[in-house]
Point group: C2
Chain length 202, copies 2
């Protein structure tokens, strides 16, 4: 899509800023939208704008919400003694798709990354400490990503939580290991290392 179509190039450039969208898929999206006609684009733009206007952070856990509390914090059936800490709302959604966690969440809004200038003060840690004191939380499950910054954040959180005066809480971390459906042959070495170290008796 070289030369001549600046309006298409502009749209493609903005679409490739979305996660998981490369140049090829952006071009395919653009071709699809143009085929659909003006109504499709108007509908999509309106839906995105409405979403932007309505959505805010849950005042308790920083998940996406359209009201003061998100749908999880507002659900009396969720077990508030179990708190799962995630980096982003999209991680919370992935956990919810898995469907086995019945507790509540805390969305940090990122992970510690000195290189990118993200320090503890940039994450929703003050609110987490506040929750540790005011709510009856028995276990904190750290579900940050298995990346350098996610691991650093997990370590920081563990130290912070263990250091809390007058709060007795279990801190745990999601297990490392083989992804289901994958093949051992194609696993990277550090995953295999972790899978071996974390082996469980049958």
């Amino acid at each position: 899509m070289s030369g001549g179509l600046p309006s298409v190039e502009a749209a493609v450039a903005l679409l490739t800023r979305l996660p998981g969208v490369g140049r090829k898929s952006a071009q395919r999206m653009v071709a699809h939208l143009l085929r659909e006609g003006p109504q499709g684009i108007a509908q999509l733009s309106a839906a995105l704008t409405t979403m932007q206007e309505r959505v805010r952070a849950c005042s308790r856990c920083f998940n996406l919400a359209e009201a003061e509390l998100c749908w999880i914090c507002a659900d009396p059936k969720r077990q508030s003694a179990q708190l799962c800490v995630v980096e982003e709302a999209s991680d919370l959604m992935a956990m919810e798709r898995a469907g086995s966690f019945r507790g509540v969440y805390h969305v940090l809004g990122g992970a510690l990354s000195p290189i990118d200038g993200v320090g503890p003060e940039d994450l929703n840690l003050g609110a987490l400490l506040e929750r540790m004191r005011s709510e009856s939380i028995e276990e904190v499950i750290i579900a940050t990503n298995p990346t350098v910054s996610g691991e650093a954040t997990a370590h920081y959180l563990t130290a912070m939580l263990h250091g809390l005066q007058g709060v007795d809480v279990t801190v745990s971390r999601l297990a490392y290991g083989m992804p289901m459906g994958g093949e051992l042959e194609y696993l990277d070495e550090s995953t295999l290392y972790q899978a071996l170290a974390g082996r469980r008796p049958l």
Copy 2:
């Protein structure tokens, strides 16, 4: 992303209508857009709307264009004796990314598919016939998809082009075979069959 966030669900539903976008990636996109803030969505909506307003079909080949002719038809360096027929403008873009074709194109706007009610009258075939008569085309390269409807369209086109009175044209089809970088072990049987049948002496 169950319960409670209708505005997000509406945006996710529209995003999943884009090619290659499933529910997971739509949720990731939405989370990203919300993180970026209102400006990102406004910019994206504006770019899509501008593109929709400016883009039309090239009057000669039906590629996307912002003027009467697309950037390929307007380029005097393209060899107009070679015509490559594709289903959609996105296929043309894929060909252009490959970068080795120096001729011109004709975009059909789809492929024959009786099941979906797409017949010859729904494709840009009249304009193709008109071009065969008025332009000095020596070779037509059929680059429809290697799918049932793409193959049916290729057969239909071949018969149509060979039946033209007073027009002497070579009709060819893109080769079938192994995709580069793939592994034989993971190839489907019909591709392997085609790769064997189309083997070339070294």
